[in-house]
């Protein structure tokens, strides 16, 4: 009897294997930073993908899913262009997921168009970069989508005058411009606009400027890491939090993996973003728990992880909808109809721009059980991405 069962089981396994062998594997190229200063991106993407496969299986529409991973090491447009080309001509991937810098996405665009290769972008935040790339869609966010609602919110919540400060490079100018515009249009007064050098070791002069001007709020954008940490520390040490000057920023500065490292200097800071691991929904609570099971107890999902999760979710959906036979144009039609509940809340793809439409949350950094969290205090529902600055 036991022998018979074993035979049947073996036969079933073989039959299953044969069925799989009939369908070629579904190859998904993954391009992100696995090394360098942004290695944390690659880690988040990997955990999200592992978790998705763990929960949803490694086979979709009869095709076994294979991830082919490529490391960019940071902004490296010529390398990324080559990686996309090679994934297409050599590895013959069906889709590409990832990309975490604007120049990388821009360099990949023409190849994607030429080869009709669908690329689902996880995080490249400059507006308008996929306008000329009909086979690209964005699952992260755009800086304008995040910064503009914060400007409107600030006016509504009694912050009448603000100093706008940002690092003098593409993303900083983007964030500063979008915030300033939305804030001024809503009736706020921009007391001052300060561009800071990108590599700036000392913020004391800027902090003094805030002290002298005594605005209701300060909007700041700096590259997250050493720069923003130094700014926050100087801000707190100067007693500006105690003086009631609200510190506003986009959520990049209080990204979950680095939040605890920033320390208590961040408490009280107000940011706007598309995802917080403290997002209060049953789905997110489950997801954060499962994420820690895969990535370890210290792993905290962030915007990268959730964007990668939603992108691979969309990949499975479009492969299923086409019964495993992918056509790039059909794939993009289906991507434009993407609409589902994500751990970050409801999301959809805007069919006109292929950019994501999602809730933007206003959060305050708070300490709970010894850890810092971005606690959501307000929601701006289903924000579309504004056009370029």
């Amino acid at each position: 009897m036991k022998f018979k069962l074993a035979m049947i089981a073996a036969a079933a396994v073989l039959a299953g294997a044969a069925a799989h062998a009939a369908e070629p594997p579904l190859k998904v190229g993954i391009i992100t930073s696995y090394t360098g200063p942004s290695a944390v991106n690659g880690k988040a993407v990997d955990i999200a993908l592992d978790l998705w496969v763990k929960q949803n299986g490694d086979t979709v529409a009869g095709r076994k899913v294979e991830f082919i991973k490529r490391d960019t090491g940071g902004p490296a447009p010529d390398l990324v262009k080559r990686q996309v080309q090679e994934l297409i001509v050599r590895d013959k991937v069906d889709l590409i997921v990832g990309i975490d810098y604007t120049p990388n996405a821009l360099a990949a665009g023409p190849v994607s168009t030429q080869a009709k290769m669908p690329i689902l972008i996880v995080n490249a935040a400059t507006a308008g970069i996929i306008a000329n790339a009909p086979y690209m869609s964005r699952f992260g966010f755009t800086t304008g989508q995040i910064a503009a609602p914060l400007g409107q919110w600030a006016v509504k919540n009694g912050i009448k005058s603000t100093i706008v400060m940002y690092a003098d490079y593409g993303p900083g100018i983007d964030a500063g411009t979008f915030f300033k515009r939305a804030y001024a249009e809503a009736g706020g007064k921009v007391a001052d606009e300060v561009k800071m050098p990108l590599q700036n070791p000392d913020f004391s002069a800027y902090i003094q400027r805030i002290k002298d001007a005594k605005p209701d709020g300060v909007f700041v954008f700096l590259p997250s890491g050493a720069q923003s940490n130094a700014f926050l520390k100087a801000y707190k040490d100067a007693g500006l939090f105690d003086a009631g000057i609200k510190l506003l920023a986009t959520g990049d500065l209080t990204d979950e993996p680095s939040l605890d490292a920033i320390g208590d200097a961040a408490v009280g800071m107000i940011t706007s973003y598309d995802y917080s691991d403290a997002h209060d929904s049953p789905m997110n609570k489950e997801w954060v728990k499962a994420y820690k099971e895969v990535g370890g107890a210290d792993a905290r999902p962030d915007f990268q992880a959730v964007a990668a999760w939603d992108a691979i979710h969309a990949v499975y959906d479009v492969v299923k909808a086409q019964n495993g036979k992918l056509d790039p144009d059909k794939t993009m039609e289906l991507i434009k109809q993407v609409k589902f509940e994500s751990p970050r809340g409801p999301i959809m793809i805007d069919p006109a721009t292929r950019d994501i439409v999602q809730n933007v949350y206003i959060r305050r950094v708070e300490k709970r059980d010894g850890h810092l969290y971005n606690v959501e205090i307000d929601t701006i529902p289903m924000v579309t991405s504004p056009a370029g600055r």
């Binding site: 696995y34 690659g42 490529r70 902004p75 447009p77 080559r82 970069i129 100018i173």
Partner: protein, 336 residues
């Protein structure tokens, strides 16, 4: 070796230069091997074209470091200048690639000439600091000049016409590779001619003993200015090639990483050999490509190990080791 020493003693200076410059058959093998990549590895041509471009960039540095003994930590400045020049031309209506490349070289060379007026006065640490400074300044300048360069987002909309009006840019990178290889070969021939000329010999003199060469009637300053300008122009051509073949220019073309990377490639391949530039670029980039694909998270460890091994045990880089091994075998077999 023996025969060459005899020639040196007996023959006229002209014959000595001719002997040094004589084309040797391994060189033919090298370039044919490079060309054969088109047929042997048609799926790797994009990588191959970037190897060739990096090789040309390393060659420009070899003229400085390997032949004149001047190290530079900011050579990406000229690479980037060439890249932005070629990219901007392509973006604003000048789509013809060859003339674009010439302009890229001229612009980088002109800036190199200006820089060299200062650089010719410097040595060792001061030289490193100033070249580093030039690189950082241009990087920040390109970041600031957003309206011109696109800043951190990169220069998009670069449109390059088919090479010679015949060969369009294909997704396999065939045109890109052949175009890059042809340009690199021409530049290589020029560099080869240069280092084997009396001018090249004077550069070696400067490298060996800067204080003594003036006693031979050589003006060190003007020679250094000349070679720095030539080197900058070559780097500009390499940068222009990258911009044209990728049709995009990112701020990274000016980054310190690129300056350091080209130095590593040159040391790995062997400075002062010309071929070391290409061999080092190939070894470094293929190793990087292979390792980062097979282990995207920890591949830097293996790169580091490779560098340590080559630098610790392989004096003169890959080309140096190969040449010595070759000579040893040749002597053993040919002496009797």
């Amino acid at each position: 070796m023996v025969s060459r020493a005899m020639v040196t003693e007996a023959a006229s200076p002209r014959a000595i230069f001719a002997e040094h410059e004589r084309w040797r058959w391994p060189e033919t093998v090298f370039w044919l091997a490079a060309l054969s990549v088109v047929y042997l590895f048609p799926e790797y041509l994009t990588l191959a074209s970037q190897v060739v471009i990096s090789g040309l960039f390393a060659l420009s540095l070899d003229l400085l470091l390997g032949y004149t003994g001047m190290a530079s930590l900011g050579h990406a400045a000229f690479f980037g200048l060439g890249a932005y020049t070629a990219g901007l031309l392509g973006k604003h209506g000048w789509h013809e690639p060859l003339s674009g490349l010439v302009v890229a070289g001229l612009v980088a060379g002109a800036v190199g000439l200006v820089c060299s007026l200062v650089i010719a006065r410097l040595q060792s640490i001061a030289l490193l600091m100033v070249t580093l400074g030039i690189g950082v300044m241009l990087h920040e300048g390109a970041n600031q000049a957003q309206s011109l360069t696109g800043g951190d987002d990169g220069l998009q909309g670069v449109d390059i016409a088919p090479v010679l009006g015949l060969f369009d840019w294909d997704i396999f990178g065939r045109t890109a590779f052949l175009y890059a290889l042809a340009i690199a070969f021409l530049c290589f021939l020029a560099a080869r001619r240069l280092v084997h000329s009396p001018f090249g010999l004077s550069l070696r003199g400067i490298k060996e003993n800067t204080k003594r060469v003036p006693s031979l009637g050589i003006k060190v300053r003007s020679r250094v200015i000349a070679i720095f300008t030539i080197s900058a122009a070559l780097a500009g051509v390499a940068g222009g090639l990258l911009a044209q073949t990728t049709q995009f220019v990112g701020l990274e073309v000016l980054s310190f990483d690129r300056s350091a990377g080209v130095l590593i490639m040159l040391v790995l391949g062997g400075a002062g050999t010309l071929y070391g530039a290409f061999v080092g670029a190939a070894l470094f980039m293929i190793a990087k490509d292979f390792l980062s694909a097979s282990d995207p998270v920890y591949w830097y460890f293996w790169i580091g190990l490779l560098l340590c091994v080559v630098v610790a045990f392989g004096k003169g880089g890959v080309v140096g080791v190969t040449t010595r091994a070759w000579a040893a075998i040749f002597r053993r077999g040919g002496a009797k």
